[in-house]
Structure formats: structure tokens, C-alpha cells
């Protein structure tokens, strides 16, 4: 990195062509913001879908006039049809998991911050980076198109289990063109994520600035790096599975379709495939994917807790180890989604034990977050509040996993609302809390202006209460035995007592979504009128705070920064300020451990 030749090659000026600078940009900062905006658009769509779902569950007899104007078939005469309901569930899950929880933490914040935090001028492969965004964007357009084709959006859930997903419209409406588009979209998404993952790995390994040893990297960088490794190993499997499913549907192959099927009175001309094979492939991707969604949130939480508790991260090494352990073990637990799938009971036994073992690194992280707060001096900034909320939600959601990970208990809870409550708390909202924390923390760096703290805190407290009121009661529904993906539970006597919970959850959902208006207002306000941000508004230590807000085109004026300190030297005894930036001159008696 320091040879004359390479250095010279790095001196670039921004392209003066508008398209090259802002649209098909190769600047990781622009691409990061593009990803972030894509995730914002996607989350708005996903949120509207969730309101439709919740409205149906609490008010099944209501006349949804407005909706019937937009979807005259699915909501004919104001009544939501069962297939329309399931389409909403499927699209909500797909859009949220892929286009929000995978794009914002990784594509958005990872892209923007990773190169700066390691002192690089850009990603290792800027053109690839641009491609990875636009490929992902294309995937989003394709999935959105599924709403508007004949038969509507697919209804098989975000997990798309065959044969339901493999047989076409005969199996249910939406399983025709809509399902094809779903697979194509996900396949495109996989390609985009792969390109991104390669770039993250190469950048972290190759472009660290002088002095940025691995153990001086902020935990955010460790999290993005591990996430990229998970993505690199898991997305190809989903891509392959998607291609096989597409072939089954359109080319007459039978990877997932066994012989002798009769659907709607019609014999299906396929033989030899296995529906369970899809589940293995899907969850081999799917479990690592849940960590892809949350690891960056864990990284941001560690980073922000240390910053605003004014303390080093408690057990930095253990945190790095835990991130790795989670990543590694995460590849050996996929079968916990399949305890009742028909898989061998011995396999189920093994998966159960490994799954509970993964609770250990998760617990280490929680203990160390609490340890970071212990003896600190907590500055209650908005970013800090979201991170504290993250810890609380991570505990609540993670403990649900301790029930589900026991195969014997999962016999009862599988495919009930208990699962829905578990994964929304942890993967849905905890990950989103991580992203909100990151937004409030890094917005000043990215846009050069501060968000309004009062609005931010209001937004936080309303959301924190709201999401708990939505997803904790869902565990109760699951305990009563309420199956998930039910259009209407009122047919069943054993679900007779669940109306009250459904109504409560729906009101809480409307409340929570409304509270997000505060955020949108804050964004617009902050972006246009917010107070000018100084270079380092939070007295932080990492490299992004050692450059201007926003950073210049090449991230750092002049030479690349040189790192002399670990990432979390807060409240170091004997130093004048209560933080030592990574770029600060080395102390005379170097503090060991960095």
C-alpha cells in the first residue's frame, strides 16, 4: 500500500459526469447511500404489507374499500381473499428478509463505513461494487413486478417450500408467473450479494491502512467481514436451489417433485424428486442468512455502546471470537427448522444439541455488552438508546430460540406464532434497531448534518414499546397452539381465546408504524435543515471520525491515515481527553493490548 506506484494510482478526482458520479457511481459512499435508500423504499413497502396482514387478522369482516380499488381481484368487494392474504405474507417476508435486512446492514452501512474504518480510499473492486448494487436493484424491480402479473404475487411463504412452489398455478393462484418472478428475483439477489461479499472480504484483507492490524479493527468491521464470509458460502447454495426449482417449474425436471402427485384432480408428470431436499438447501442458506442480518447490528451495538458508555468494549477478543463462533456454528444448525419435516430423528437429535450450543456465543455477547455498560458513564444519545434497545430485544428474542431449539418442544411450537414472535423480535426488530442506531450514529458523517435528538428519542421510545407489544404476545398465541400463516383462526375452537391478542397486536402494529413518521420527518428535516455536524460529534475513536463530515471523495485529505491505537480506547487513565483516536500519536509508554 505504500509503494510509490500504488499510491500514485490512488489519486483520483471525482468524475464530473453526473451519471458516473451519482447514479452508476463507483464511490463506495454513494453506493452505500444507494443501498440504504433501496432498503428504506423496501421497508416502506414491507410495512404496508404487514398492516394489511394485521388488519385481516384483527378485523376479518371489515370492508377494505381503498384496498379493493388497488387490488380488485384480491380484495373483491372489500373482502381480503385467502390467497391475497397469503401473497401479502409471502411478499412481506421476502422483501423484508432480502431487500431490507440483508441490504441495509451490509450493503448500506457496510459499504459506506468499512473502507473508511480501515483507512482505505475505496472498496477493492469499485466497479464490482457498482454492479452489485445495480444487480440488487434489478432484483427488487423483479420482485415488485410479481404484484402486478396475472394471478398476483406468490403465496408459498418466503421459504417457498415445494411441491407447492414447484407445480404452478394448479397448486394455488400466484404460483404461476408470480412464483417464477420470485425465483428470478431471488437468484438475481444472490448474485448481487455474492459480488458484494467478495468485495468486502478482499477489502478487509487487502486494504487496511498502516497500523490497522486485525486486532485493531473496530467490531463493526469484524462483523461485516464475517457477514461477508457467511454470504459468500451460503448465497451460492440458495442460487443453486433456485435454479433447480426454476428448472422443475419450466423445464420438466424433477429435483423437488416426487412421483405420483395428483393436484386438483390432475396427475402430475414428474417423478424422483424430494421436497425435503429443498428444505435442506434453503436452510443451509437460511440459517446463516439470519446471522447475515444481525451480525452487523451486533457490531454496531458493540461500537456504539463503547462510544457512549465511554469505555472500551468489554472483552474485545471474546467478542471477535464470539462473532466467529456464531458464524461457524451457524452453518451446522440449519436442521432446527426441519425437526418435523420427516428428516431422520437421529439427525434431529444432533441438530438440537448443536443449536443450543450456539446459544453460548450469543450469551457471551450479551454478557460483554452488559460488561461494557458496567462502570461506564452513559451518554443517552439517540444512537445509544437504540443500541440499548437492541440488547434488550436480543435477549428476549434469543431466549425464544432456547425453546425452539429443543426438538421435543418444537414438536408443539413449530409453525406456530411462537416462531413468528421469536424471529421477529430478533431478526426483525433487533436487527432493525441496530440499523436505527447506526443511522442516528453515522448520519452526521454521511450527510454532514445532525439529526434532531429530541425527535430521535421520541421515535425510539414509541418504537421500543410498540414492537414489544406486537411480538411478545405472539409467543402467547403460539403457546395456545395458533398455527402461523392462517388467514382466519376463528374456525377452530382451541383458538377461541385468541381474538383479544390478535386485536392487541394489530393496534400495536398500527401504533408502531405510525411512530415511524417521526423518523421520516426527522430524516427530511435533518437532511435539509439539520445543524452542521463537526468532524467528530460523538468524541469517537475510529477512523471515520478522523476525516471531514461528509468525507471527501477519497475519504481522507492528504495521505492515508496511520493507526497507532486500538479501536476502543475510552477513558484511558492518564490521557487528557476521555478518548484516544486511532490516529492519535502513539503514547510515550504504549498502552499494551491495542
Amino acid at each position: 500500500m505504500s509503494t510509490v506506484h500504488e499510491h500514485a494510482a490512488h489519486v483520483h478526482v471525482p468524475p464530473d459526469n453526473f451519471m458516473a458520479r451519482w447514479v452508476f457511481s463507483k464511490d463506495h459512499k454513494v453506493i452505500g447511500i444507494q443501498y440504504w435508500c433501496l432498503a428504506l423504499a423496501a421497508v416502506l413497502v414491507g410495512m404496508v404489507l404487514s398492516l394489511i396482514i394485521r388488519a385481516q387478522l384483527a378485523f376479518p369482516t371489515h370492508n377494505f374499500e381503498l384496498l379493493s380499488k388497488i387490488f380488485p381481484n384480491g380484495v373483491a368487494g372489500g373482502a381480503i381473499a385467502p390467497e391475497f392474504y397469503l401473497s401479502m405474507v409471502t411478499m412481506h417476508g421476502t422483501i423484508m428478509v432480502f431487500f431490507v435486512l440483508t441490504t441495509a446492514p451490509m450493503g448500506g452501512f457496510g459499504n459506506y463505513m468499512l473502507p473508511i474504518q480501515i483507512g482505505a480510499r475505496d472498496m477493492a473492486f469499485p466497479t464490482l461494487n457498482m454492479l452489485s448494487f445495480w444487480v440488487t436493484f434489478a432484483g427488487f424491480l423483479v420482485i415488485m413486478a410479481a404484484f402486478f402479473v396475472e394471478g398476483g404475487a406468490p403465496l408459498g411463504g418466503w421459504t417457498a417450500y415445494p411441491p407447492l412452489s414447484a407445480l404452478g398455478v394448479i397448486a394455488s393462484p400466484g404460483q404461476g408467473t408470480g412464483m417464477n418472478l420470485w425465483i428470478v428475483s431471488i437468484a438475481i439477489f444472490c448474485v448481487g450479494s455474492l459480488l458484494g461479499a467478495l468485495n468486502f472480504i478482499a477489502t478487509t484483507l487487502g486494504l487496511r491502512t498502516k497500523g490497522m492490524s486485525l486486532m485493531r479493527m473496530p467490531l463493526t468491521v469484524w462483523a461485516w467481514f464475517t457477514t461477508a464470509v457467511l454470504a459468500l458460502l451460503s448465497f451460492p447454495v440458495l442460487l443453486g436451489a433456485g435454479i433447480l426449482l426454476l428448472l422443475d417449474r419450466n423445464a420438466g425436471t424433477s429435483f423437488f417433485i416426487p412421483g405420483g402427485l395428483v393436484v386438483a384432480g390432475e396427475q402430475i408428470d414428474h417423478r424422483g424428486g424430494s421436497p425435503i431436499l429443498w428444505q435442506h438447501l434453503f436452510w443451509f442458506f437460511g440459517h446463516p442468512e439470519v446471522y447475515i442480518a444481525i451480525l452487523p447490528g451486533m457490531g454496531a451495538t458493540s461500537h456504539i455502546l463503547a462510544t457512549f458508555a465511554r469505555k472500551p468494549v468489554f472483552g474485545y477478543r471474546a467478542m471477535v471470537f464470539a462473532i466467529f463462533a456464531i458464524g461457524l456454528l451457524g452453518f451446522f444448525v440449519w436442521g432446527h427448522h426441519m425437526f418435523v419435516s420427516g428428516m431422520s430423528p437421529y439427525t434431529g437429535l444432533a441438530f438440537s444439541l448443536v443449536t443450543l450450543a450456539i446459544g453460548v456465543p450469543s450469551a457471551i455477547k450479551t454478557i460483554n455488552w452488559l460488561g461494557t455498560l458496567w462502570g461506564g458513564r452513559i451518554r443517552p444519545t439517540t444512537a445509544m438508546l437504540w443500541s440499548l434497545g437492541f440488547v434488550s430485544l436480543f435477549v428476549s428474542g434469543g431466549l425464544g430460540g432456547i425453546f425452539l431449539g429443543q426438538n421435543a418442544v418444537d414438536l408443539y411450537l413449530h409453525d406456530t406464532y411462537f416462531v413468528v414472535g421469536h424471529f421477529h423480535l430478533i431478526m426483525g426488530v433487533a436487527a432493525i434497531f441496530g440499523m436505527f442506531a447506526a443511522t442516528y450514529y453515522w448520519f452526521p458523517k454521511m450527510f454532514g448534518r445532525l439529526l434532531n435528538e429530541k425527535m430521535g428519542k421520541l421515535h425510539f421510545i414509541l418504537t421500543f414499546i410498540g414492537v414489544n407489544l406486537i411480538f411478545i404476545p405472539m409467543h402467547g398465541l403460539g403457546m395456545i397452539g395458533h398455527p402461523r400463516r392462517y388467514y382466519d383462526g376463528s374456525l377452530y375452537q382451541f383458538l377461541g381465546g385468541t381474538d383479544g391478542l390478535h386485536t392487541l397486536i394489530t393496534w400495536a402494529a398500527f401504533f408502531t408504524v405510525t411512530a415511524q413518521l417521526v423518523f421520516l420527518i426527522n430524516l427530511v428535516w435533518g437532511w435539509s435543515k439539520g445543524e452542521r455536524a463537526p468532524d467528530n460529534p460523538w468524541d469517537s475513536t475510529s477512523l471515520e471520525w478522523a476525516t471531514t463530515s461528509p468525507p471527501p471523495f477519497e475519504n481522507f485529505e492528504g495521505d492515508e491515515p496511520e493507526v497507532h491505537h486500538g479501536p476502543y480506547e475510552y477513558s484511558l487513565p492518564g490521557s487528557a481527553r476521555d478518548y484516544v483516536m486511532q490516529t492519535d500519536a502513539p503514547s510515550r509508554a504504549p498502552a499494551q493490548g491495542g
Partner: protein, 263 residues
């Protein structure tokens, strides 16, 4: 704000505990020994995770209050504590993995034992959106079936007419009748897509997979009429794929079979 947050965390914790205890009271009755074992494993887990939950959330709220920014205070410079970290991991590891090990007893009782020779065998075949329930009849043998012969009104299971074993087979729709206190073995399958055969009062479910016959064993110990639900998304009628589990006294069960055979 820190007060508000700490209070919210504690409030949420309290409400969660109350809600889950309340829901525990609303669970369907458990009518088998295995179901009660699953319930006690659930309860055991609820208590243990409940303690961890209250401890972690309580500590979080307390730290937020205690270590809020106070004039003149300086944060303690602590980079970690190996004893706490390793000790915590070991304790948590023992608790979590211990729970998983304890669960294997129940799992093994369900899955790793063969049923006795005199068990009642019933074949369940899901289709969009109903359960075909077949009894082997007096000969105790299921007749061969062929998908080409499926006929919703006359021969829903496609039993081959010239197979003697199939002559006396009894096929009913959506009602699974079983004798009380006798081992039952279901053989689950599907005609079309995945379904999930879920009997809440027995606390068990099993996906039905086309191309496979998956055994599921139970002993129901209380007579009565209970519900069966579909747990695996199978299409637009998933929510109304309802069945009934009728647990009868042995003589009643026999006459029920005779009655069904006559139809």
C-alpha cells in the same frame, strides 16, 4: 430519558412474564403422557429462561440508571474480565446444552421406539384441503393404492379394486377416531403438497410429505372430541384444513368402525 428507558425495559419484562404465564393457562388440555412430558419440558424451559430473562433485562435497566452520565464521574477503564467471560460462558453453556440433552428423552420416546404388535394403525393422507383417513379393516392389511385411481367421491385413496387386502379398507374424511389408552401408529403421507398434521392436545405435529410415509405414534388417554389443524402452508385453503380427533372407549370405537365400513 434514561429513566423512561429503564422503566420501559422493566415494564416490558414484567408484562412479558405475566403474558406468558397467562398464555400457559390457556394452552389446550394435554391428553397423553408424552404431551404432559412435553409440557413439563416446556415449563422447565420457561422457568429457566424466565430467570435468565428477568436477570438480563433487570441488570440492563439497572446499569442504564446507575451508570448514567453524572457530573464529575469518570468511566472505569476495564477492558474485560476473563473470569466473568469464561465463567459466564461455561454456566450458560451447561444450562442451554443441559436443556437440549433433557429434551432428548422425550424425543426418543416419540421417535426411537417401535410400537407394540397390537397397535392401531391408521394411514393419513393429506390433500388440498382435507385429510383422508384410512383404516385397514378386519384383515389388518392396507390394500395397494394407485394415484391414477383417485376418485373424490367413490375411491378417494385410489385403492386397487382387485387387491383382496383393500376390499375391507375403511376411508373417512377428516375424522380420526382412536380407542382410548391404546397405542396408535399413524402413517402420514400426502397426495399433492406438504401439509402438517397437528394435534394440539397431543402436543405433536408432523409434516406430511408426498412420496413418503412417516410414522407418528401416540397413546390418547382421555376420551373426547378434539381438533386437528394443518400446520404446514399448503395453499389458499390452509387455514380451513380442519380435522377431528375422536378418542373413544374401545367398544364404541369398534362400532364406529363397523358403521363407517357400512357407508
Amino acid at each position: 430519558m434514561v429513566f423512561l428507558l429503564a422503566m420501559s425495559i422493566w415494564l416490558v419484562t414484567a408484562i412479558s412474564v405475566w403474558l406468558l404465564i397467562d398464555a400457559k393457562g390457556q394452552m389446550p388440555v394435554a391428553i397423553s403422557d408424552l404431551a404432559r412430558s412435553i409440557d413439563s419440558q416446556f415449563m422447565f424451559t420457561l422457568v429457566i429462561t424466565g430467570v435468565v430473562f428477568v436477570l438480563a433485562q433487570g441488570l440492563l435497566g439497572w446499569f442504564i440508571l446507575k451508570y448514567r452520565d453524572r457530573p464529575g464521574a469518570r468511566a472505569r477503564f476495564v477492558e474485560g474480565n476473563t473470569t466473568v467471560e469464561i465463567g459466564g460462558a461455561v454456566v450458560i453453556g451447561i444450562i442451554f446444552v443441559g436443556l437440549a440433552v433433557a429434551a432428548q428423552n422425550v424425543w426418543a420416546r416419540l421417535h426411537l421406539n417401535e410400537g407394540p404388535a397390537d397397535q392401531v394403525v391408521v394411514e393419513i393422507t393429506g390433500e388440498q384441503f382435507a385429510w383422508n383417513i384410512r383404516y385397514p379393516g378386519p384383515d389388518g392389511q392396507f390394500g395397494r393404492t394407485l394415484p391414477e385411481l383417485y376418485d373424490a367421491t367413490n375411491n378417494p385413496m385410489g385403492i386397487v379394486p382387485d387387491d383382496p387386502a383393500g376390499q375391507d379398507d375403511i376411508v373417512v374424511l377428516n375424522t380420526l377416531a382412536v380407542p382410548v389408552n391404546r397405542p396408535v401408529e399413524l402413517r402420514l403421507g400426502s397426495k399433492d403438497v406438504l401439509h402438517g398434521f397437528f394435534m394440539p392436545v397431543l402436543r405433536i405435529k408432523q409434516d406430511t410429505v408426498p412420496g413418503m410415509r412417516i410414522p407418528l405414534r401416540f397413546v390418547a388417554e382421555e376420551t373426547g372430541n378434539y381438533e386437528i389443524a394443518c400446520a404446514e402452508l399448503c395453499g389458499l385453503g390452509h387455514y380451513r384444513m380442519r380435522g377431528f380427533l375422536q378418542v373413544m372407549e374401545e367398544p364404541e370405537f369398534r362400532s364406529w368402525l363397523v358403521e363407517q365400513a357400512a357407508q
